[in-house]
Structures are given as structure tokens and as C-alpha cells.
């Protein structure tokens, strides 16, 4: 997993004789290094939100979290900013940060962008080295395994990873980041709806079918199938969402 963050090295001055060797170490150290307190706090909260431990609408109290996490308010607020820009928290001026409550419009919007990105990525695949499908195979297998066990939360996780890896085939850092934000928000939506089996069961098999098309190099058919897939998934999610809204108005 190379992270080609631009413009890091200074090939200009200095005695960079054994550069190649050091470069690798420096890279590794840096990625280890890259843990400001705020980012570690953000990582922790991100996990909580994505896993659904914090219910939608819940307010994250600064005072409370400062006590629990043993960081200063300023640092905590920086973590909040990070997550806010990932769409995992919403910030209301003078009121604090909350776990977002997505509405139907948000779901439609999320799927709109999702279709745009995922379908386009698949459509543009050609001359793909089959080795790069390896992570997708693993994810599909993980999903099937989870389904056999009846662990639909794990199936959902595998599904998310499948789609993240699918998008990664484009080899674009910015597409990956956009998709990551998107899928994280979507995960929020799944949690607010519940009913993981209903939402995930149909797509264990469809992921397999999609992957088969990719293996066969049938990118156009794969894109078409993915389009239908995502429409169906959206419809299912909206229906489940409405069911839930009816129960708890």
C-alpha cells in the first residue's frame, strides 16, 4: 500500500548516497510517526461511530470526553474537525457535535455518488492484471463465510471492504478517499436502519457474480450489473428506512 503523498523528498542537496535504503525506512517511520494526539483520538471515535456504538443524534460532550480520553479540549476539538469533514459527525454552532441522523434525501444522495464512482471505475477497467482482484476474492469469501455463520454484521463489513477494494482498482488516491468517506457515511445509514440480514444477504451472492464478471474481463456487463445492484440496494435501504420511521415516528 504505497501512499504517494506528493513532494516529500528533497533530491536537491546533501549526500544522498545510500538514499534508496534510507528512503524506505524513513517512509515507514513516517507512517508510524503520523500519529498526532488529535488523529489518534479521531481514530478511536471513528471506530465507535462506524461500529454503531454511538446512536444517531447522540451528542458528544466535550467535557465528558475530555475526562474519559485524558486529552485537552483543544485537541479533542481538532479530532472533531477531522471526523466532521469525513461526514461521521455533524457540527452545530454553539451546540456541539452530534452523530448524524441521515434522512431519505441523504440516502439518495449517497447512492447517487456511489453509482457515479463505482460504476465508472468498473466501466473504465481494461487490461486488468488478475492479481489485483485478489483482495476482492478475499472479501467475497469473507462475506460468504459470515453469511453461513449468520453473522450479518460481519457480512456487512465484508461488503464494505469489497466495494472499497473494487474502487481501489482505479488506482487513484482521491477516488479512494472519496469512496472511503462515502462508505463510512453509508455504514452510518445501515446502523440507523438496523435489519442487517435484509440489507446484506442478497449481496453476498451478487458480489460473487460481479467478481466473476470482472475475472472474465466483462467490464461493460459488470458495470451494468453493478448499476442494477446499487439501484436495488438503494431501494431496499429506503424501504427498510421507511419501515423503521413508521415504527418510531
Amino acid at each position: 500500500m504505497a501512499s504517494p503523498s506528493a513532494a516529500d523528498d528533497d533530491p536537491g542537496r546533501g549526500p544522498d548516497t545510500h538514499a534508496g535504503w534510507l528512503r524506505a525506512v524513513a517512509e515507514e517511520v513516517r507512517s508510524f510517526d503520523r500519529s498526532s494526539t488529535a488523529e489518534r483520538v479521531a481514530e478511536l471515535l471513528r471506530h465507535r461511530v462506524i461500529e454503531g456504538d454511538l446512536p444517531p443524534g447522540h451528542r458528544l460532550s466535550e467535557e465528558q470526553l475530555v475526562d474519559v480520553l485524558h486529552v485537552s479540549r483543544n485537541t479533542l476539538r481538532e479530532a472533531f474537525r477531522l471526523l466532521t469533514h469525513e461526514g461521521l459527525l455533524v457540527h452545530r454552532l454553539h451546540r456541539g457535535v452530534f452523530v448524524p441522523e441521515l434522512d431519505e434525501d441523504d440516502l439518495v444522495d449517497l447512492y447517487r455518488l456511489r453509482r457515479t464512482i463505482e460504476c465508472d471505475v468498473v466501466r473504465r477497467l481494461h487490461g486488468l492484471d488478475p492479481v489485483r482482484l485478489r483482495p476482492l476474492h478475499d472479501d467475497v469469501a469473507a462475506g460468504e463465510d459470515a453469511a453461513r455463520r449468520g453473522d450479518w454484521v460481519a457480512a456487512g463489513t465484508a461488503n464494505m471492504r469489497f466495494h472499497q477494494h473494487l474502487v481501489a482498482l482505479a488506482g487513484s488516491r482521491r477516488i479512494d478517499e472519496t469512496a472511503a468517506r462515502l462508505l463510512a457515511e453509508l455504514r452510518l445509514a445501515f446502523h440507523s436502519v438496523g435489519a442487517p440480514q435484509r440489507l446484506h444477504e442478497p449481496y453476498v451472492g451478487r458480489n460473487r457474480a460481479l467478481l466473476d464478471l470482472l475475472v472474465a474481463g466483462e467490464t461493460d456487463r459488470a458495470a451494468k450489473e453493478l448499476e442494477d445492484y446499487l439501484h436495488d440496494s438503494e431501494a431496499e435501504l429506503l424501504a427498510a428506512f421507511r419501515d423503521r420511521s413508521r415504527r418510531t415516528p
Copy 2:
């Protein structure tokens, strides 16, 4: 002062009879509200960066900006976070924030995402109300006007607005936001290259042509044209970039 002008009725449930009316007001108040100090500072810096007043690679000193802007370091840092997540600044731990220096890989990456979004938006347009093309007409006209005057910076601005409005036809908040980030970063790239005439002149006419196709409802042909358009633009930008790199190594 509340005189409910007839128009809006919500023939549904509950006591929310003039819901639509209130909704609009709430929206307006909220957007008015949205003025924390950090965001105002961010807006100021954003303008500076986008307009190219700060050269790529320049470090924004906290101490210095605190003095100039008369805000606290914490507030300034929050503004930095905002811009960092828009891609307009990069943050290196313990070293500060810098105006990004995009390299060729970044340009390729930006255009990759750009093609994905813009072409897909156009491809999915159908049954479009011609009224919604109004902003695009204005932008094309502004571009043509700037070109006549030889003001290629203004032409570039008009071009950016054209593409932002183009993407807005999808009617998706998240697509708009993604495109905004994208175009802001691209703008950075244009500045680091210079040569605005070379980069913008050809697309004044092509924007007009593209718009004509949209007016005619020929979305497929428009998408195809846009695809070529963006490929050409990318190639031109890369070539200009290499020319410049050769001059200043």
C-alpha cells in the same frame, strides 16, 4: 410580520401546515449563522490560496498569521484543518502547513476523478429542464467575454464556474462538494504552471460546443465530447507542467 403568502400548503399531517415556508427560512438562518471565526479565517486564506497569491511550497507560519489576523493560535489551527481537508493546504507534523506542490501524478489523479464525476453526471442527464442550463450560459458568455479582452485569468475562473455548474445539474450535495474540492485543487495546479492563455483559450469554444449539445439534449454525445475535452486538457496541462519543470529544475 408573518403573513403567510398563499402558495405553500402541506396537505398532510399534523400541525405543520406551512412547513415548506418555514423550512426555507430555517435554511436561510442556518447559512447566515455559519460564521465561526475559524471559518472566516479559512475563507480568507482559501481565497489567497486559490487566487495564487501564495506560491506552492510556501509555509504558512502560525506565529506570523496570528499577528496579522488577530486570532488565537487555536482558532488559526482550526482554519488550517478546514483547508487541509479541502486539499488547499498540506500539513506536515511538527513542520507546519504548506501550500501544496502538486506533481504530475497529482494532475493525473485529479483528472481521473474529474472525468469520473463530470462525464458520469452528463451521461445521466435526461429530461433536463432547460432553465437549469441558465448558469452555464452565463459562464460561457463570461468566458468568451474574458477571452475577447485577453484576460485569461478571468477566462480560467469562468471555466471553473462552468464546470461547477455543470456538475450541479446532478442535484447532489455530495457530488457538488467533491467537485468543489477537485476544482480548487486543480486551480492550484494551474497557478503552479502559469501560462493561462495556453491552458484556457481552447476551452472557451469547447465549453460553448458542450453547452450546445446539452441544450439539444444530446447527453451521450456531450459525455463523449467532455471525455475528449478532459483528456486534451489533461495532456495540455501535463505538457505545460513539464515545460515549466524543465525551465526550473
